[in-house]
């Protein structure tokens, strides 16, 4: 008996979005002209994006500012109609904005708050509970669990304007998860938070994904978020999908080089390296050089044979450097 393939939880086919933007020049003369004659420009924000995401996966969308990550997320959450292409999320077409769909998804934005400002978060939660028609028992249970996981029982009765940024972010998360969504879109959730809070939130997301099986798409500029949480990344640059796979694979594809860190028994000194290796600025008493993946073994044995080496490691380049290179060069 043939096994029916499981339909992906989130899928995109040829997803595209083009904007018409008004061109506006500088100065008074240009403003007056623009009153009578408008010039438009077509901006391709997203171009032919395809991917499938299975239920329970945690995927990172990475890419420079303006790459189209947020636009893609907005299309997947139904906030934007695409110019072309299709998508399905949790079995629905997002931009039809059916009630069943809206109840199954949630979006948390790092830079915009959905909390009512002057009153305690508990009151916003109650309103949301009513809006999402969460049964009272389930509401209380979910709330208790989230409050405990995030350690925020003391915050529930303080007006939101009196909370710190990290505390407000916790409230945003509770607000976004009260109705137990199947799909969670996180747009820069750790923006502006201190390191310990970022760590705590990362553990939270991991735990949530594991225990609830929610599918999570995360965008973040902090590579630490992506490295810690997302086994799979989708790299979007200038509206195009450049890479879809494991993060480690990205490093391999983009930066096929290795960094050899070594320490000489007599401390840093001037040395001669083969042509295939480039010396990097040294830190402390360690020296470092960069070489291609293929040449790494040869350079390693050269160093070990030629100099008196006290310590030597061969490393992958830091992922930030890899991504930086993509952002600068604009292609893979």
């Amino acid at each position: 008996m043939p096994i029916k393939p499981i339909e992906p939880h989130i899928s995109a086919r040829g997803l595209s979005k083009t904007y018409r933007v008004v061109e506006r020049g500088e100065g008074l003369a240009a403003s007056i002209k623009s009153l009578f004659h408008r010039r438009y420009q077509n901006v391709d924000a997203v171009c032919e994006i395809n991917f499938n995401i299975q239920r329970g996966e945690m995927v990172g969308f990475i890419g420079p500012n303006g790459a189209g990550k947020t636009t893609t997320l907005k299309m997947l959450s139904g906030l934007l109609h695409p110019s072309a292409g299709e998508a399905r999320v949790a079995g629905y077409v997002p931009w039809e904005r059916k009630t069943g769909f809206l109840k199954r998804i949630s979006m948390v934005l790092g830079n915009k708050s959905q909390m009512l400002w002057d009153i305690p978060p508990m009151d916003t939660f109650r309103v949301l509970g009513e809006i999402y028609q969460v049964p009272r028992a389930a509401f209380q249970q979910t709330l208790d669990e989230l409050v405990e996981l995030l350690d925020m029982s003391a915050l529930l009765t303080k007006p939101v304007r009196n909370l710190s940024l990290g505390e407000r972010m916790k409230c945003e998360l509770v607000a976004g998860l009260l109705h137990q969504p199947e799909v969670l879109f996180l747009d820069e959730p750790t923006l502006g938070l201190d390191v310990s809070m970022q760590n705590r939130l990362r553990s939270f997301f991991k735990a949530y994904n594991r225990t609830r099986g929610a599918t999570i798409i995360l965008t973040s500029h902090y590579m630490a978020d992506v490295t810690a949480l997302c086994p799979r990344v989708i790299l979007i640059h200038r509206g195009r999908l450049l890479y879809d796979g494991e993060l480690s694979g990205l490093a391999e594809r983009l930066a096929p080089f290795k960094i050899i860190r070594f320490a000489l028994t007599n401390g840093p000194a001037a040395i001669a390296l083969p042509e295939s290796a480039h010396l990097l600025p040294s830190e402390d008493d360690h020296m470092a050089c960069r070489t291609s993946r293929e040449d790494a073994p040869a350079v390693t044995s050269y160093l070990l044979n030629t100099y008196s080496v006290a310590d030597l490691t061969v490393e992958d380049p830091p992922i930030e450097a890899v991504i930086d290179q993509v952002y600068q060069e604009g292609e893979v």
Binding site: S77, G78, E130, P159
Partner: protein
């Protein structure tokens, strides 16, 4: 039923927000009394010089002022704050928080119209009713309480028209974000303080058929004095329904535009 419970929730949340700042209560009180005082003083000054203008005497014009206060109080109660939260200066359309509203599994028009309440407006409502009462009590006035039923119907029609105009103006913000259409409405509604009969012929036409601000207060005031010409009852109800349907259609169309064109 569900929508009723939602309204209760919205009411409670808004009430709590209002009470977070107690000084606002006294300020609101002062503003309400000031609004009333200036309105009545204006009428007193006007009618020191004339007995009646185009058939409107002091009593009937005062009644119209009372109707204006009642109608604007209702606007201040929930329609105004809710649509301001959407389309006003610090509104969601401009700040981008409209995305959150779009994500809710609730009808957008309902949410945009009932979401925020300002209970201080009940004070204005009471003041307005007081003014109408006072106008009815003026000896020799032409006002006849017997027309209450007709009055109630055209009042409701007038309020539906006001809601529709404000909804339409708010919808326009989607097409030209940054332009404060709701403030334009604020200016135009001032014209409803006086009967359209007191305005020149061409303005009367505009205020009855183009932007029917006149319908909101003048027709109920005419109903109160038994002067309502035949057919105006059905006419104003019909106008209200047409405007409501048109404004709702415009609003939904505008939301669609937002999701197609925004970034």
């Amino acid at each position: 039923m569900r929508y009723f419970r939602l309204i209760v929730r919205f009411l409670r949340a808004s009430a709590q927000q209002e009470m977070a700042y107690s000084v606002n209560f006294f300020i609101s009180l002062i503003y309400s009394l000031l609004n009333l005082g200036v309105g009545v003083a204006g009428l007193d000054i006007l009618f020191t010089q004339v007995q009646s203008i185009q058939g409107w005497d002091y009593a009937s014009t005062l009644a119209l002022l009372g109707i204006y206060l009642v109608v604007t109080a209702l606007r201040e109660l929930f329609i105004g704050p809710s649509l301001e939260a959407l389309a006003g200066m610090e509104g969601e359309i401009m700040s981008g928080k409209f995305d959150f509203t779009l994500l809710r599994p609730i009808d957008i028009q309902f949410m945009s119209s009932f979401r925020a309440w300002r209970l201080f407006a009940l004070l204005d409502l009471a003041l307005g009713i007081g003014v109408i009462w006072r106008a009815l009590a003026i000896p020799g006035s032409l006002l006849a309480p017997g027309n209450i039923l007709v009055f109630a119907v055209v009042m409701c029609a007038g309020m539906l028209v006001m809601y529709s105009i404000l909804l339409a103006f708010s919808a326009l913000v989607f097409w030209s974000p940054g332009f404060l259409f709701t403030w334009v409405f604020d200016g135009l509604i001032q014209l409803a303080r006086y009967p359209v009969g007191m305005y020149p012929q061409w303005l009367r036409f505009v205020l009855t058929w183009v932007i029917p601000v006149g319908v909101i207060t003048t027709i109920p005031a005419q109903a109160l004095s038994g002067n309502l010409p035949a057919g105006y009852l059905a006419g104003s109800v019909g106008l209200a329904v047409v405007f409501f349907l048109g404004a709702s259609f415009l609003f939904r169309r505008s939301v669609r535009r937002y999701t197609s064109a925004s970034s």
